[in-house]
């Protein structure tokens, strides 16, 4: 079998391979360590962090939908300090990049977290401006162009780390938001976060999730995510980390062809704990079969 170069460089974040895992779907890595060698994964974006520890939302947090699920975890996490103390050392045992997904109640909090993490051993910051489960945080941030401008530029000023900005799909014009993020200093764009959705229990006659709506993920949203990656590719020069419903190598290849430089697996981890490894292997075979020397050549390699 001939070989193919799987390394990708996301504008300064160098990955051994382009298969990463999406924030909130892989815990802090340790939960999956019994099922997969974490060194097989290009990068791990950890569960969304906040400045202080958070308990997350009360009541039912999940509902299944046709080929999807909605969640309303509400950023339950041990806080950035415990992450630094306990999770970074654990993850550093493995040959994988660490992406810290950061979330604030306000712009100051985002900046403070970025500052704190500047001096810590993480490879990248992923600015989550799109979590739909935190009312006073995410939603407004990720959908309002002027707030996006402010949060990205201030976080950029607060830290020299590699900076990924993660976009919300719940917007009219995703290109506009991506361009603002690029302009204000993002090194990379990741998309998409979950779509806002609701499931109602017709027996109890109330929304299944205690908070009403939650974030829709999984195969159901894949066509929307592919379209957004395709659109954003045309709008920015910085690399794209694509995600949304990827479950197998066919899905993954779709994202590369749409314009993603690397991809993240989310919900599919719940179904197949070793899916990342499988996708990496199948992607490699596809590349070899189709005479590619490097996975980078696949990015937006649409035939005309």
């Amino acid at each position: 079998m001939s070989s193919v170069d799987m390394r990708v460089d996301l504008n300064g974040l160098k990955l051994k391979n382009p298969i990463t895992v999406a924030s909130g779907t892989f815990g802090f890595g340790r939960e999956y360590a019994d099922y997969i060698d974490l060194s097989d994964i290009g990068a791990i974006s950890v569960k969304g962090l906040t400045l202080e520890p958070r308990q997350g939302n009360e009541g039912i947090r999940i509902a299944e939908t046709p080929m999807g699920m909605i969640n309303s975890v509400g950023l339950q996490n041990p806080g950035v300090e415990q992450f630094i103390r306990e999770e970074i050392p654990f993850l550093r045992q493995f040959d994988t990049k660490i992406i810290a997904n950061i979330n604030g109640n306000n712009i100051d909090e985002y900046c403070k977290m970025a500052e704190i993490l500047s001096y810590e051993d993480v490879d990248s910051l992923e600015l989550n401006i799109s979590c739909p489960n935190v009312k006073n945080g995410g939603l407004a941030f990720g959908t309002n162009p002027s707030v996006v401008k402010e949060v990205v530029s201030r976080v950029r000023a607060a830290s020299k780390k590699h900076l990924i900005v993660k976009l919300s799909p719940n917007v009219t014009n995703i290109k506009e938001i991506a361009m603002i993020a690029e302009q204000e200093g993002a090194d990379c764009i990741s998309l998409i976060n979950t779509l806002s959705g609701m499931v109602i229990d017709i027996n109890k006659r109330k929304p299944v999730l205690k908070r009403g709506s939650g974030g829709l993920s999984g195969p159901a949203i894949k066509p929307i995510a592919v379209r957004m990656v395709y659109d954003v590719y045309d709008a920015v020069k910085i690399p794209i980390l694509g995600m949304g419903g990827i479950s197998n190598s066919t899905d993954a290849i779709e994202f590369f062809l749409a314009g993603a430089n690397a991809i993240a697996i989310g919900t599919a981890n719940f179904v197949e704990p070793r899916v990342t490894k499988q996708i990496l292997a199948d992607l490699k075979s596809y590349l070899i079969r189709n005479n590619y020397d490097s996975v980078n050549e696949l990015v937006r390699d649409l035939s005309v």
Binding site: G24, T25, F26, G27, E31, Y32, D34, Y35, K47, Q55, G56, E58, G59, I60, R61, I62, A63, E64, M67, G68, M69, N71, V73, Q76, G218, P219, T267, N269, F270, V271, E272, P273, R274
Partner: protein
Amino acid sequence: MKFQGLVKVIQKKFVSDDVFKIVIEKPEHMGEVRPGQFFNFNVERMLLRRPISVSAIGEETLEFTIKILGKGTKELSLLKTLDEVDIMGPLGNGFDTLNHKKVLLVGGGIGVAPIKGLGEFLSKDSIEMKTLLGFRDTPYMIDDFKAFSNEVITVSENDKDYRLGYITVPLEEVLADPKEKIDMIYACGPLVMLKSVQKICAQFNTPVQLLMEEKMACGIGACLVCTCKTKEGDFGFKHSRMCLEGPMFYGDEVIFDE
């Protein structure tokens, strides 16, 4: 590495209209499986896996007892002998099985399944067991319990062939009876039942292990969608993952929602 992969179904039978048992071949390298632990079953037509407790732990086999509730369990009910099914596990913290003299088993609805697995496990030691079973409609699996339990009391909400009512009534009777010296209660059933059981056990100051159920996704602690409140510190609470810190919690740990 923990097990995830295909296993072979070597037996399958219905024990009531909508409850069936399947026995699978235990894969070689699977570690110890304890009562109260569960496996996450891949279901062809559904996105998410379905968690199912072990209802019997053999040397080379595992048994599961499943109630058809929705599409996923319906799909599982189509499994036939020699079919393969993708499972992962064993998952979660099962029951603590210390050396008690007399224990009380309490099972409601399909919650009887893991309790049966526990009873069979305990019966290897000479522990005295008493069992309370509660059903909404026609009871099932009573004979399984009679095989190892010194006494089995069955109630049903609707089946007139049995004592009518909720399981909480005989539970209170047993705990109020000074002759019964129960060291530990093990309970599994719908959340409303567990909530009442918790209250009654607290009243009678008897320790109880509750096996909880909630919709899950990852089953291994990564996604945080399966939480319940547990006591933390003197006043506070935290959201514990049923799949990892549970599904067994002691009665004095859990805080049930209103």
